[in-house]
Symmetry: C2
Subunit: 163 residues, 2 copies
């Protein structure tokens, strides 16, 4: 049973723009939250919904690098890949993202790590899709469960309960 504080996550889909904005606070400084996004042994402990396991096939979290990973559950596996357009330590990550089950779909994600002081961070993610329909399909895919549970697992990792 976890006693870690879980802050609320805000997921906003602008009706007029093909974007999803996700804002979440963490009780850890930007350097720690950033590290959990770039070190593969940490990433696989928290990214995605609780029921899935994650195998990382490629992971070069640096400007010009890329990644590929597979999420697995009892019904199958789901591959994802993309490029790290920019990795600016403890400040910003810009990456592309494709679900291999829908190979023509792609979005561009910008994560910013804002220092709130007192060892806290506001993480803001903006995903831009090619069309509003593509964004709506992503929203309908159950992403909010993955985001909510993933960030709860990240809270637990940052609190040192899962290390």
């Amino acid at each position: 049973m976890s006693t870690t504080t879980h802050h609320e996550v805000t997921i906003t889909a602008d009706p007029a723009l093909p974007t999803i904005e996700i804002v979440r606070e963490f009780d850890a400084p930007p350097a720690a939250v950033f590290r959990a996004h770039v070190e593969p042994e940490l990433v696989k402990k928290w990214l995605g919904p609780r029921r899935l396991t994650m195998d990382i096939l490629r992971w070069e979290a640096e400007t010009g690098g890329g990644y590929r990973y597979v999420h697995r559950d009892e019904s199958g596996e789901y591959g994802f890949y993309g490029s790290f357009h920019e990795v600016r330590p403890a400040e910003r990550i810009v990456q592309t993202f494709t679900f291999e089950g829908f190979p023509d779909g792609v979005c561009l994600e910008t994560l910013t790590f804002e220092d709130l002081g007192d060892g806290r961070t506001r993480l803001r993610g903006v995903s831009v899709f090619e069309t509003v329909e593509g964004r709506d399909a992503a929203m309908a895919s159950g992403m909010s469960t993955g985001v909510t549970e993933g960030y709860e697992q990240l809270d637990e990792l940052l609190a040192g309960q899962d290390r």
Copy 2:
């Protein structure tokens, strides 16, 4: 003096969406137009406005690769970089793009090569920005000159007049 046919380029900025769509036909088959987008020795012969020269510092035109180049004229140099999210031969290229003079700006570009038959290709590029303001800034930067002149140079390259 060139006698190559130059088709019209259509550049569309949707008032409501943060996108730029560029459509242009070429009198060459998709494989040839694609090759001129992935082989660096060909790319540097046509990309950008006529007055600029191009030095390529990194060029890995494959899924998961990246690029960096510098355009130069008499007043200075302009660096650009990005990642190749996907390179699907003779069909599709998805890449990110940043002008180093505006390091927080990034867009995601999808190029598709449509076979029109009779050795002709319709090239369609869609660039998605994070905001409508970012898109408007790109439109105001004089990109239409670079696109128009670049594609005229590409016509000449494809016609074999510049090889």
